[in-house]
């Protein structure tokens, strides 16, 4: 089953959906980072969501971050983990994946 996750916030407590990353299992799955969640794509980020992004990348899933939200927050592309794609029309990409490729989607 191909999965698509839209992450819009950063889990800040020990239990708060740190394991949502497990919905991303393999190549073919996609993790979208929108809004505050773009912070979790940074190499230096050590918060709970860092395992979500690292886990997704290690399983060869696609991780896609919002260019607009990165620029607004002053995060340079070079700060992000390798292999994260930065896109302008993240909502368009998200709809393509959600409606045409993924079997399931969770927005968080």
């Amino acid at each position: 089953m191909k999965s698509c996750i839209l992450l819009m916030k950063l889990p800040c407590t020990e239990g708060e959906s740190w394991r949502i990353g497990e919905a991303i299992r393999a190549k073919g799955d996609t993790l979208f980072l929108l809004g505050d969640a773009v912070e979790s794509g940074r190499k230096e980020y050590r918060g709970h969501a860092s395992s979500i992004v690292s886990g997704a990348l290690s399983r060869e899933a696609k991780v896609i971050a919002s260019a607009r939200d990165l620029r607004a927050r002053g995060i340079e592309a070079s700060e992000l983990q390798e292999m994260i794609e930065i896109v302008e029309d993240i909502e368009g990409d998200f709809i393509n994946v959600t409606m045409e490729h993924a079997d399931r989607v969770i927005a968080w």
Partner: protein, 134 residues
């Protein structure tokens, strides 16, 4: 040609206090532009998105975007009991047995429904998304 599918979206946060309504509007618009059907349910504090005279000078124009979504064919349903609580409608029974959903405060095209309306929308959706609430 993209196969038309139905996307049902629940919004649970009010505009301006967070970015959830912004994200929702953008995602919903792209879905419509790509030829899909979009149904939106405004729930809890998110019913404030239906107010018709929003004029944020500096924030993402949620009211305007919702209006655009309606104009482009999105079905926007608002939780009746949440709207009554927050003073948008009375929802009282009129002499002809219908509920009074009239309001001078709500954007044109917003439809009020009970939780069962949302349940039906969830059941017919191909994909379901929730925005906000936390």
């Amino acid at each position: 040609m993209v196969e038309k599918k139905t996307l049902t979206i629940m919004l649970a946060s009010a505009p301006f206090g967070s970015q959830y309504a912004d994200h929702m509007c953008r995602v919903a618009l792209r879905a419509l532009e790509k030829g899909h059907s979009v149904e939106i349910f405004l729930y809890g504090d998110a019913v404030h998105a239906q107010m018709n005279q929003q004029s944020p000078k500096l924030f993402f124009p949620v009211g305007m975007k919702l209006q655009e979504l309606i104009g482009k064919g999105a079905k926007v349903y608002s939780c009746e009991i949440c709207s009554v609580a927050r003073g948008y409608i009375t929802g009282q029974l009129t002499p002809d047995g219908k509920k009074d959903y009239s309001s001078t405060k709500v954007l044109d095209g917003v439809q009020f429904t009970t939780i069962f309306g949302f349940v039906e929308s969830l059941a017919r959706a191909d994909k379901v998304l929730s925005f906000g609430g936390g």
